[in-house]
C-alpha cells in the first residue's frame, strides 16, 4: 500500500547483505557447503546463513546435477519462497546435463524449469568459486539485475508447460499419492488402480 521506492537502495542493500540459503542440498555439491560455513571461508561474513524453511529463505543453491525426482521437490520449494528469490547453480550439470548428458534421469537444462540467476563453472566448484558466485549474486542484487523471480512470475506458463511436459499433468497429486497405498500397507489396491 505504501510506496517504498524511496527506500529501495536500503532494501537492496539489506537483501544483498542478508541472503538466507535454503538448506536443501540438491546434488553432489552439497558437501561443498560445510567448508563455506566454517572458519576458513565463512560466508556468514556476508550475512549469508543456512535456513531450513523455504518460507524465509532467499538464495537457493542448486548444487550439482538435478534428477527429475529432485526437480519436483526443487520446484515446490522454489515456489514456496517469498518473492525476491535467487538461484545459484553449481557446475555444468544444471546447464546442459554435464557428464550425464545421455542419462535418462539427469535434467539437461535447468533454466527451462526454474530461472537461474548465477551459474558457477566447475564439476563441483571449490569454495573459492562458490564465494565468487555469491559475490556475483550480491552485485546482481545491488544493480537490480537479479530478476530470476520476475522472469518466473511473468512467463509462468512457459515454465509450467515445460514442467508438465517433463512430469505429465497433475504431477504433484500423483507424486503425493504414489506412496500412500504402500504406507497404509494396502498393497492389493495397487493392482486395481
Amino acid at each position: 500500500m505504501v510506496d517504498w521506492r524511496l527506500f529501495d537502495p536500503l532494501f537492496e542493500y539489506a537483501r544483498k547483505r542478508s541472503m538466507w540459503i535454503v538448506s536443501f542440498c540438491t546434488g553432489c555439491g552439497g558437501i561443498e557447503m560445510p567448508p563455506l560455513a566454517t572458519s576458513r571461508y565463512d560466508f556468514e561474513r556476508f550475512g549469508v546463513m543456512p535456513n531450513p524453511s523455504p518460507r524465509m529463505a532467499d538464495l537457493f543453491l542448486i548444487t550439482g546435477y538435478v534428477t527429475p525426482k529432485t526437480l519436483k521437490r526443487i520446484i515446490i520449494t522454489y515456489e514456496m519462497q517469498p518473492d525476491p528469490k535467487y538461484v545459484l547453480a553449481h557446475g555444468s550439470c544444471p546447464l546442459n546435463g554435464g557428464i550425464y548428458w545421455d542419462g535418462y534421469n539427469a535434467i539437461k537444462h535447468l533454466d527451462k524449469y526454474i530461472p537461474v540467476d548465477v551459474a558457477i563453472a566447475g564439476c563441483m566448484p571449490r569454495p573459492e568459486a562458490v564465494m565468487d558466485g555469491i559475490q556475483k549474486m550480491m552485485e546482481l542484487i545491488e544493480t537490480g539485475e537479479a530478476d530470476g523471480w520476475k522472469r518466473y512470475k511473468e512467463n509462468y506458463e512457459w515454465y509450467r508447460k515445460n514442467q508438465d511436459e517433463l512430469f505429465g499433468e497433475g504431477w504433484r497429486e500423483k507424486t503425493a499419492r504414489r506412496w500412500i497405498p504402500w504406507l497404509m500397507d494396502k498393497k492389493k489396491e495397487v493392482k486395481e488402480e
Partner: protein, 620 residues
C-alpha cells in the same frame, strides 16, 4: 407472602417439576429458563441489602426441626456464582437437552445448590446436599450406569461421613444451627486455651475434621477422592457439566470454608500452626497442591475433550483448596476470587465443549480439527476462555491466580508456592493441546458443514465471556465485595487496581499497553506487502507435495514424551486402587455367602448354639 429465600431455593425445583410434567417442546424450555432466572433476579434484588451488612433471616419448622435460612455475604457470593453459571448452563441445556427427564434433575441439583448456600443449620445443609447429589447422580445415570455407580458410591461415602460428623456435633452441642455450633466451638477453643476440660476431646475434633474433609473432599474432587469426577463430568449432558463442575464443585469449597467459619478457632487451638498456616489448613492446602499437579498432568494426557476439561476443573479446584488451606484472610479471599473466576471460565469451557459435541457429534480429539473457520463465534469465546484459564493478564483468570500466588508465597510456604507455579504452566499446556487438536490444523472431510453455536448456547457463552472480560479488566469490583465478605480490607486499591501492600496489579494499564503493543505490531504488519491466503496442503514438508489424504496434524498422543517422562508416576492410579478395593469387597462377600449364610438350617442351628454359649459364659 412466601419469603424470598424460599423462592430462591425452590423456584428451580418447581420449574423442573412443571417442565417435566408438561413435556411440551417449546414450553418446557421456557419454564426451565424462568426457573433458573427467578432465583438470580431475587438474588440481584437482595444484593444491596445483604452486602450492606444486614442478614435476611427466615426460619421454617418442619417435622419437629427448625430450619433457619440466612443470606449472609459469604452465602450471597456463592449463590450469585450458582445463579449466573446456573442460568448460562440452563441456557445451554435448552439446546442440548434430550428429554424432560434432564430438565427435572438439572434444576433439582440447582435447587440443592441454592439450598446449601442459603441454609444456616447443619441439618438443612445436609438435606440440600443430598438433593443436589441425587439430582446430579440421576443426570449421570441417564447416560452411563457404571460412571454414575462410581459417583454414587463415593458421594454416599461422603454423605455418611458428613452425617456421622453432624451426629457427633449435635450430640455434644444439642442444636444444628450454625450460630450455636459456632458459639460452642469458640467457647471450647477458649476453654482449651485456658486448659480446662473441653467439650470435644482432641480425638473427637480430629475425627470430625477428618469426616468433613472426606465429605467435602469428595464433592470438591481433591486428589485421592477425585476419581469420580472425570467419568461423571464426561458421561452427562455437556452443558449440564458446565453447572456440574462450575457450581456443584463450589459446594465442596463452601464446605471447606464452613469448616473454617465454624470450627476454625477450635482446630487452630488444638493442632497449632505450621509456619504461620494452621496445621489442619496445611493438610487441605497440600492436598490442593497435589490435586493441581495430578489433575493438570492427567488433563494433558487425555484423548477425550470432555475428560480433558474434567481433569482441568479438578486441577483448578486444587488452586482454591490451596487458598483456603493457607488460612489467612487474604488467602481465603483469593480462594473465593478464584472460585468465582473458575466458575466463569470453566462454565464457559464446558458450554464450548457442549457446542462442539452438539454440532459435530464427536468427542475424541482424533477426529476433530480445523473448526476455527467453521465456528468463528465459538472460537472467539474459546479464545477468551483460554486466555482466562491459562492466566493471561488482561482477564479474570490471571487476577485471581495473581492474588492467590501472592497470598500463598507471602506466607513463607515455598513448597506450596512451587506447586502453584507449576500448576499455572500445566494449565497453559493442556489448553494448547485442546486448541491444536480442535480448532487448528487440517479439517476432517465430514466436519466441513458444521454450523456455529445455536442461539441459546451462544447467549449463555456470551454472558460468561463478558463477565470474564469485565471482572478481568476491573478486578477491583470483585475485590471490594470480597472485602465485605471477609470483613477485612485485605485487597485495597481502585476498581482497576489491586493493592496487597507487597504487590500491586493494575489491569487497566496492562490492557492499554497490550492494545498499544498490538497496534504497533499491526502497523508494522500492514506496512508490509500484500498477503496471499494459502491452503493447508501448501505447507513445507521438506519439499514433498502434500494432499488432503496426508494427516498433517498430530491429534492423537500429542504429549507422548510427557507420558514417557511420567511413566513411573502414572502407574500409581487411585482409580485402580478403588476398583481393587471394590473387587476385594465383592470377593469377601462371595466368601461369606458361601460359608456363613449358606442357607442350610444345620449351620444356623450351630450359630445359635455358639451365641447362647457365649452369653452364658458372659453370665448374662
Amino acid at each position: 407472602m412466601i419469603n424470598e429465600l424460599m423462592i430462591i431455593i425452590f423456584a428451580p425445583l418447581i420449574a423442573g417439576v412443571i417442565a417435566w410434567a408438561l413435556d411440551i417442546k417449546g414450553v418446557r424450555e421456557a419454564i426451565g429458563v424462568i426457573g433458573a432466572a427467578v432465583p438470580l433476579a431475587y438474588l440481584v434484588k437482595l444484593y444491596p441489602t445483604v452486602m450492606g451488612g444486614e442478614l435476611i433471616q427466615y426460619n421454617v419448622t418442619f417435622a419437629g426441626f427448625t430450619f433457619n435460612f440466612t443470606l449472609a455475604p459469604m452465602g450471597m457470593i456463592f449463590a450469585m456464582i450458582a445463579g449466573v453459571v446456573g442460568l448460562a448452563a440452563v441456557l445451554g441445556i435448552v439446546s442440548t437437552a434430550r428429554s424432560s427427564y434432564e430438565w427435572l434433575f438439572a434444576l433439582m441439583s440447582l435447587t440443592g445448590v441454592f439450598g446449601i448456600f442459603l441454609s444456616y443449620d447443619l441439618l438443612g445443609f445436609f438435606i440440600f446436599w443430598e438433593i443436589m447429589t441425587f439430582g446430579s447422580f440421576m443426570m449421570v445415570l441417564k447416560y452411563n450406569r457404571k460412571a454414575s455407580l462410581k459417583y454414587f458410591v463415593l458421594s454416599v461415602i461422603g454423605a455418611y461421613a458428613m452425617l456421622v460428623a453432624i451426629g457427633i456435633i449435635y450430640a455434644k452441642v444439642g442444636s444444628f444451627s450454625f450460630v450455636e455450633v459456632y458459639r460452642a466451638f469458640s467457647q471450647d477453643a477458649a476453654l482449651g486455651m485456658v486448659g480446662g476440660a473441653t467439650v470435644f476431646s482432641r480425638s473427637e475434633i480430629a475425627l470430625i475434621f477428618g469426616l468433613f474433609l472426606v465429605a467435602f473432599g469428595v464433592k470438591a474432587g481433591t486428589f485421592p477422592l477425585h476419581v469420580w469426577a472425570p467419568d461423571a463430568y464426561t458421561e452427562t449432558n455437556q452443558s449440564y457439566t458446565a453447572m456440574f463442575s462450575g457450581v456443584l464443585s463450589k459446594t465442596g469449597v463452601y464446605g471447606f470454608i464452613l469448616i473454617y467459619m465454624l470450627m476454625g478457632y477450635r482446630l487452630m487451638a488444638e493442632f497449632g500452626a505450621f509456619r504461620s498456616a494452621p496445621a489442619f489448613g496445611y493438610i487441605i492446602a497440600f492436598l490442593g497442591g497435589l490435586t493441581i499437579i495430578v489433575g493438570g498432568l492427567l488433563a494433558a494426557l487425555q484423548e477425550d475433550i470432555r475428560k480433558l476439561f474434567a481433569y482441568s476443573s479438578i486441577s483448578q479446584i486444587g488452586y482454591i483448596l490451596v487458598g483456603i488451606g493457607v488460612g489467612t484472610a487474604l488467602s481465603i479471599e483469593a480462594a473465593i476470587f478464584h472460585a468465582i473466576s473458575h466458575a466463569l471460565f470453566k462454565g464457559l469451557f464446558f458450554l464450548i465443549v457442549a457446542t462442539i459435541v452438539y454440532r459435530t457429534g464427536k468427542t475424541t480429539f482424533a477426529d476433530m480439527g480445523g473448526l476455527a473457520e467453521k465456528m468463528p463465534f465459538t472460537f472467539a469465546m474459546a479464545f477468551v476462555a483460554i486466555l482466562s484459564l491459562a492466566g493471561i493478564p488482561p482477564l479474570v483468570g490471571f487476577a485471581s491466580k495473581w492474588v492467590l500466588f501472592e497470598a500463598v508465597i507471602s506466607q513463607n510456604l515455598p513448597i506450596l508456592g512451587g506447586m502453584v507455579f507449576f500448576g499455572s504452566a500445566i494449565g497453559f499446556v493442556y489448553l494448547i493441546r485442546f486448541t491444536y487438536a480442535v480448532w487448528f490444523g487440517q479439517r476432517p472431510t465430514d466436519l466441513d458443514d458444521t454450523k456455529d453455536a445455536p442461539l441459546p448456547l451462544a447467549i449463555g457463552m456470551a454472558i460468561l465471556a463478558l463477565l470474564n472480560v469485565v471482572f478481568g479488566v476491573a478486578p477491583g469490583l470483585v475485590a471490594r465485595e470480597l472485602n465485605k465478605v471477609i470483613g477485612e480490607e485485605a485487597i485495597t486499591g481502585t476498581i482497576w487496581e489491586l493493592n496487597l501492600g507487597f504487590g500491586r496489579y493494575n489491569a487497566l494499564a496492562i490492557l492499554i499497553y497490550l492494545i498499544v503493543g498490538i497496534v504497533i505490531a499491526g502497523i508494522i504488519y500492514f506496512l508490509g506487502a500484500k498477503v496471499r491466503k494459502v491452503p493447508v496442503t501448501d505447507t513445507y514438508q521438506s519439499g514433498n507435495p502434500v494432499t488432503m489424504e496426508y494427516n498433517l496434524t498430530i491429534r492423537r498422543n500429542f504429549f507422548l514424551p510427557l507420558k514417557e517422562a511420567l511413566a513411573f508416576w502414572l502407574r500409581i492410579s487411585f482409580d485402580k486402587l478403588y476398583r481393587d478395593i471394590g473387587s476385594w469387597v465383592e470377593d469377601l462377600a462371595e466368601v461369606l455367602r458361601n460359608y456363613v449364610y449358606n442357607g442350610n438350617a444345620q449351620s444356623y442351628a450351630w450359630y445359635l448354639a455358639i451365641v447362647l454359649v457365649i452369653l452364658a459364659i458372659w453370665g448374662v
